[in-house]
Symmetry: C2
Subunit: 132 residues, 2 copies
C-alpha cells in the first residue's frame, strides 16, 4: 500500500504517518522508486497508536510501549505499567478540576474589580494558585 492508502484506511494523515516514522514510532517501510510501500500490518500498528492516543499517552509514552520494556515483555504488562501511571495522572487532574470548579462557584459580591483584587489578596493564603 502507498502512504496515501494507509492514510485513508487508518484515518491518520500521510504527513502524520511520516512524522511518526521520523520520531521512531513506526518502522521504516520498504521503498519502491523512492516511495514508501507498506504491508497491511502497518494498520495494526497505527491502530495501537490511535488507541494509545485516545488513552491520553504522549508520543514519548507511546514509544515506551514499543521500546521501553525488556524484549519479550507481554503486552498486558506493558499496558498495565503505562496505564497505572496514566490513571494516577488523570486522578490528579480530576482533583485539580474539582478544586477549580469550587473556585469558580464562589460568588462575587464586589462592587468593582479593584475590590475583587483587594479581597483576593487579603484572603490569599499562598496555596490555591496551581493551574490545571
Amino acid at each position: 500500500m502507498t502512504i496515501g492508502q494507509v492514510a485513508k484506511e487508518s484515518g491518520f494523515t500521510a504527513s502524520a504517518i511520516r512524522y511518526y516514522e521520523q520520531v521512531g514510532l513506526l518502522p521504516r517501510p520498504a521503498r519502491a522508486g523512492g516511495r514508501r510501500h507498506y504491508d497491511r500490518s502497518i494498520l495494526e500498528r497505527l491502530a495501537i497508536l490511535e488507541r494509545a492516543k485516545s488513552c491520553g499517552f504522549s508520543l514519548a509514552e507511546t514509544r515506551q510501549l514499543f521500546h521501553g520494556f525488556r524484549e519479550g515483555t507481554p503486552p498486558s504488562e506493558r499496558w498495565q505499567t503505562l496505564a497505572r501511571r496514566k490513571i494516577a495522572e488523570l486522578e490528579e487532574l480530576e482533583r485539580k478540576i474539582a478544586a477549580t470548579k469550587e473556585l469558580l462557584q464562589r460568588p462575587c459580591a464586589c462592587k468593582d474589580l479593584a475590590e475583587c483584587g483587594r479581597r483576593i489578596r487579603s484572603r490569599s493564603r499562598r496555596a490555591a494558585a496551581a493551574p490545571l
Copy 2:
C-alpha cells in the same frame, strides 16, 4: 514600586509582568527614567490575574474579564458569565477523563502487540478516538 519589587510581592516574574503589559492585560505604568513605576494597586490587578489563572482561564479569557463587557457591568456578572462557560468546559473534560480511564482499565490478554493491533482494529467502531 519598581517591577522587581512588584515581582517579589506578587509572585509573578518581572518578565511575565512585562508580557502581560505587552498583551494588554496590564495598563502601562508611569515611567521614571525609562523604568516602570507602579503604585500598589498593581498588586490587586495581579491578584486577579492569579485568581483567573487558577480558575483555568486563558489569558484571552482573562482579557474578557477586563475588557469583554459593557462598561459598568458588575464583576459578579463578569465572573459568572466566564465561570459558567469554564465549568461547562471542565465538565466536558471530566467526561473525557472518565472515558479515558475506562479505556485504560481494560485488561489486555494479547500474546504480542501485533495481536493488540488486530483486536483493536476489529473492535474499532470509529468513535472512541477523541483524545483529552
